[in-house]
């Protein structure tokens, strides 16, 4: 072959490249694909994040100079009882929000998948809340929660003779009351993802199960859910990040008394927002951001590990 002219030409043309092993070639392609995105993420995300981390060790009110403060921001933070309240609130949002919305959205997606008549319309009905303005919806829900004779929910309760409930004006009820519209708005998103996942399961599995006479319940547990694993992982991780980062819904529903009443609904991102854009205490806000980031990272890593394919 060495005397073959075409072979030597090919060799000369792609010399460096063709000498690499298949794996090495593939790795080169991989890095080639990743080159531009990595630059993007480094410049647009990592650099500002690093900036924020450094800022957490400083004091800055946006208008003046930055001064070094060492770990003061963190010390203040951990000694602040409001922070611990906020910390607790944030986890309650997660621990209530993720499982509830996961289960509800799966049930909806599962049954919707089996419906033919007006399927598209019904699917649109469930998705529309996800598309609407958070500000507008917060206002509407606030009105739903008002007392008799104005609030829709309390009026319903009254027709059944049940005493009215203080939804937003109560330190115990406020958080779940705000969580409800957040779950409501996010259902559409999860339903769509579940549907995409469900439709990705080849019908052959179901056909085989039918032939074997397997019950619907078993099909669900032994076939559907295991095959939905990547989808479930995705939704759980993303949903968790979403609830730990909840902000818009709380902010819009408690705009006059943010995070109230008495900090019972305040999540960490709202605390960050207030510290940064109300008090203009940027260093302190950055410290809170670092804490949030750490929490999110740890929770996500745990979830990814636990839900990983064996």
């Amino acid at each position: 072959m060495a005397s073959d002219p075409s072979a030597s030409r090919t060799e000369a043309r792609g010399s460096a490249y063709s000498r690499l092993s298949i794996t090495q070639k593939r790795t080169l392609w991989a890095w080639g694909f990743l080159a531009v995105p990595i630059v993007f993420y480094v410049v647009i995300r990592f650099y500002p994040t690093g900036n924020a981390m450094v800022l957490s060790l400083q004091e800055w009110n946006l208008l003046g100079d930055r001064t070094w403060a060492g770990l003061d921001n963190y010390r203040t933070l951990f000694a602040d009882p409001v922070f611990w309240q906020v910390f607790r609130n944030t986890f309650v949002y997660l621990l209530l929000g993720t499982p509830i919305s996961l289960v509800i959205s799966f049930i909806i997606a599962y049954h919707l998948d089996k419906v033919r008549f007006m399927h598209g319309t019904i699917r649109a009905l469930y998705f529309v809340p996800f598309m609407t303005s958070a500000v507008a919806m917060a206002w509407v829900w606030r009105w739903f929660y008002q007392d008799v004779p104005i609030g829709l929910f309390n009026n319903w309760l009254a027709t059944f003779g049940i005493a009215q409930i203080d939804f937003l004006d109560s330190t115990t009820n406020a958080l779940p009351s705000i969580l409800a519209p957040a779950i409501w708005a996010g259902l559409g998103f999860q339903v769509i993802i579940f549907m995409a996942g469900l439709r990705a399961i080849p019908r052959t599995f179901y056909e085989a199960a039918e032939i074997d006479g397997v019950s619907t319940w078993t099909v669900l547990w032994e076939i559907t859910l295991p095959l939905l694993r990547p989808t479930i992982v995705f939704i759980v991780v993303l949903s968790s990040i979403g609830f730990l980062r909840i902000f818009d819904h709380v902010f819009n529903m408690t705009s006059a008394n943010p995070g109230g009443p008495l900090n019972s609904t305040k999540p960490l991102v709202l605390m960050i927002y207030q510290t940064a854009f109300s008090s203009f205490d940027m260093g302190y806000a950055a410290a809170q951001t670092v804490v949030l980031f750490t929490i999110l990272l740890i929770v996500s890593l745990i979830q990814l590990r636990l839900l990983r394919d064996r």
Partner: protein, 416 residues
């Protein structure tokens, strides 16, 4: 004079003329304010008038949505993207001065003596070390709105004292069969204007002084403070009010479900839009011993430190015009905000106007709180009420906690 000297003099004169005409060249200055249709309209009129009187100066106005206006300016100005002249909320003055963003107004044009004599007293809060850093075109104050129809239906007169107010509110509160309030006598809500009413009006009317040391020390953990709090909480206990009724106090009033409502002059526009609402306004009720007080807030105009040379000169002239009686009258007519000068406010026409009169008369005895962090300090009072109403805390105890919390905010601010 001999010839060479005259030539030299002529040359000097010519060059001097050249210099002055150079400073009379086209200058463009930039002005920022937040977007609100009426304010933008008014400002456009003022700019037109100013440019007509000063043909060599061109003013460019940029406006932003109100949401995050403060962040917008706070981010842009230090980055050098800011304007020559800017409108800011009076409460931000300290931050802007400390950061070196605005420069003091020249004392020859804006002497403290002149301001003190001609502007309403509460504008004095804008002075630092013998110079004024910013001045308002217009100010706002509080007054008592009332629903004429509801008052007529209950047969009550417009109250002038706190006692009369409580009685009138009692007469106009209505409930349904189950005891729920369907119409409230007086709206209350610390999240709205009530925290100003409490601070600057009620506390004083019960014999106290809310702050000392030029607003650096909290002083309402006193008998007067407790009495004021007792009065405020008593409104709900007496059943003439309900905090949170119809979500916001102004919603209840606009929905014809409240007889009395304390609010600022900025509410007038919205009320005018409410068809079917017959409303009137009167001065805030006086205390038992006749003490009257009011709270005034305002947006001020200032010159940024990036304005220099011809832009600075032009900005000074612009500031002069913005704070002139003519500008204030235009602003009153177009925006509905009260003039900052006494001469404009206290004209026969303005001071006795059905709508603006009570607000303007209130300016004569109004105070302006120097906030370190307005939203945080407001939150302190909101929490104070909620601790009592939602957690059954003793009012005196809650007041003490509030005073402590607010003092911490002030200390954190002033001791840095």
């Amino acid at each position: 004079m001999n010839r060479p000297f005259r030539t030299a003099l002529a040359a000097l004169a010519t060059s001097a003329a050249a210099l002055t005409s150079a400073s009379a060249q086209e200058v463009t200055i930039e002005y920022w304010q937040y977007f609100f249709e009426a304010r933008v309209d008014a400002m456009e009129i003022l700019i037109e008038n100013f440019e007509a009187a000063n043909p060599n100066i061109n003013v460019e106005m940029t406006h932003f949505p109100y949401a995050d206006y403060r962040t917008r300016t706070a981010v842009a100005v230090p980055a050098g993207e800011g304007p020559d002249s800017v409108q800011l909320f009076y409460g931000w003055l300290n931050d802007y001065i400390e950061a070196g963003l605005i420069q003091p107004l020249p004392t020859d044009t804006f002497s403290p003596a002149m301001v003190e004599a001609e502007f309403f007293p509460m504008v004095r809060a804008m002075e630092r070390d013998g110079a004024y850093y910013a001045l308002p075109t217009a100010v706002r104050s509080l007054a008592l709105f009332y629903n004429q129809r509801l008052l007529d239906a209950a047969g009550v007169e417009v109250p002038t004292t706190l006692e009369e107010l409580v009685a009138a509110a009692a007469a106009t509160t209505e409930r349904d069969g189950a005891g729920n309030i369907t119409q409230v006598g007086l709206t209350t809500g610390m999240t709205a204007q009530d925290h100003h009413w409490f601070r600057e009006v009620l506390i004083r009317q019960f014999g106290g002084e809310p702050y000392l040391d030029d607003y650096q020390t909290v002083n309402y953990d006193t008998d007067a403070g407790r009495a004021a709090l007792g009065f405020y909480l008593g409104l709900e206990e007496a059943g003439v009010s309900q905090s949170g009724f119809m979500d916001e106090p102004q919603a209840a009033f606009r929905g014809n479900r409240a007889a009395f409502h304390i609010d600022g002059s900025f509410r007038i526009g919205a009320l005018n839009d409410s068809r079917g609402l017959e409303w009137g306004v009167t001065e805030l009720p006086a205390g038992a011993d006749g003490t009257q007080s009011n709270y005034s807030s305002y947006w001020v105009n200032a010159i940024t430190s990036s304005a220099e040379g011809p832009e600075y000169e032009a900005s000074v002239l612009f500031m002069e015009y913005l704070t002139s009686p003519e500008a204030m009258q235009i602003w009153l007519d177009v925006v509905g905000e009260l003039p900052a000068r006494q001469s404009v406010g206290m004209t026969e026409e303005n001071a006795n106007d059905d709508v603006f009169g009570p607000f303007i008369r209130g300016l004569a005895y109004a105070q302006t709180t120097k906030f370190a962090d307005e939203s945080a300090q407001r939150q302190v009072l909101v929490d104070m009420i909620e601790r009592v109403q939602l957690q059954d805390m003793d009012p005196g105890e809650s007041l003490r906690m509030a005073a402590e919390a607010e003092q911490a905010i002030l200390d954190g601010y002033y001791n840095n």
